[in-house]
């Protein structure tokens, strides 16, 4: 798939960057002329993926998170969130609704939300090496634009 534009952001796993990451994604996605609902879907999905990396990938240390945003020629936004943290031993289990290894402020619904708010979700992970989450969100082409 041809990429028409892209941006890469790198930041440490501080929770203050959750808001930054989703807002940056929303700004970049503006080039696709999304509806408010489409922008909110992107913000929500990015927030979940970045929060997962902050909470789970680097539980005791600050680590590197990379957020890649790509605008594809089919008018879709590809969102890639990559970390080099602890990894997920059982991805299927992690994707199960309500499953969490986090503390009380986690609901175990992160992957469920990512799935609901995007058109596709892929999770690649190896324990000790890190996790890459790839999501694609199609943005409807609107008449007269």
């Amino acid at each position: 798939m041809k990429i028409e534009n892209q941006v890469t952001l790198e930041f440490p796993s501080r929770s203050a960057n959750e808001g930054f990451a989703r807002t940056a994604a929303a700004c970049f996605a503006a080039q696709l002329d999304p509806t408010l609902e489409e922008v909110n879907d992107i913000k929500t999905a990015v927030s979940e993926a970045v929060t997962n990396a902050i909470v789970h990938a680097y539980p005791d240390v600050l680590g590197k998170i990379v957020l890649k945003l790509r605008i594809r020629e089919d008018h879709a936004l590809e969102i890639i969130v990559k970390d080099w943290g602890v990894g997920i031993a059982d991805v299927d289990q992690a994707r199960t609704p309500l499953f969490t290894t986090g503390s009380e402020e986690r609901s175990g619904m992160g992957f469920t939300i990512m799935e609901s708010f995007t058109d596709s979700l892929k999770v690649r992970s190896s324990p000790g090496k890190g996790t890459t989450v790839t999501m694609v969100r199609k943005i409807a082409r609107r008449a007269g634009r």
Binding site: E18, E37, T44
Partner: protein, 101 residues
């Protein structure tokens, strides 16, 4: 992530505003816990009219408040849920557990 509370005849109303994510969830939970412990309300109304964004952290906050209210034998309802938050809560099936008005 401010929470503004008012209490009237053991009915507690909490107005949650701003963006609710993992970064701010703990503070909101602590504030609600404290208010519920103090007031022992018959009913808690969570007013989300000022909530500009939430992710699954909001689900955890609502479930915790609901659990606390069950412990003090009170009721809980959630009012004025914005569209974005409503979509997150519906994706989690929260309406089967929590009363939205």
């Amino acid at each position: 992530m401010p929470v503004t509370c008012r209490e009237d005849n053991r009915c507690l109303t909490a107005l949650v505003s701003g963006e609710l994510d993992h970064h701010g969830a703990r503070a909101v939970m602590n504030e609600l816990d404290q208010r519920i412990d103090q007031a022992q309300p018959r009913e808690l109304t969570l007013d989300l009219s000022g909530l500009t964004f939430t992710d699954s952290s909001g689900i955890a906050v609502l479930l915790r408040a609901h659990r606390r209210m069950t412990q003090v034998r009170g009721a809980m309802r959630v009012v004025s849920t914005p569209a974005q938050a409503g979509k997150v809560f519906r994706a989690a099936g929260l309406e089967r557990i929590i009363r939205f008005e």
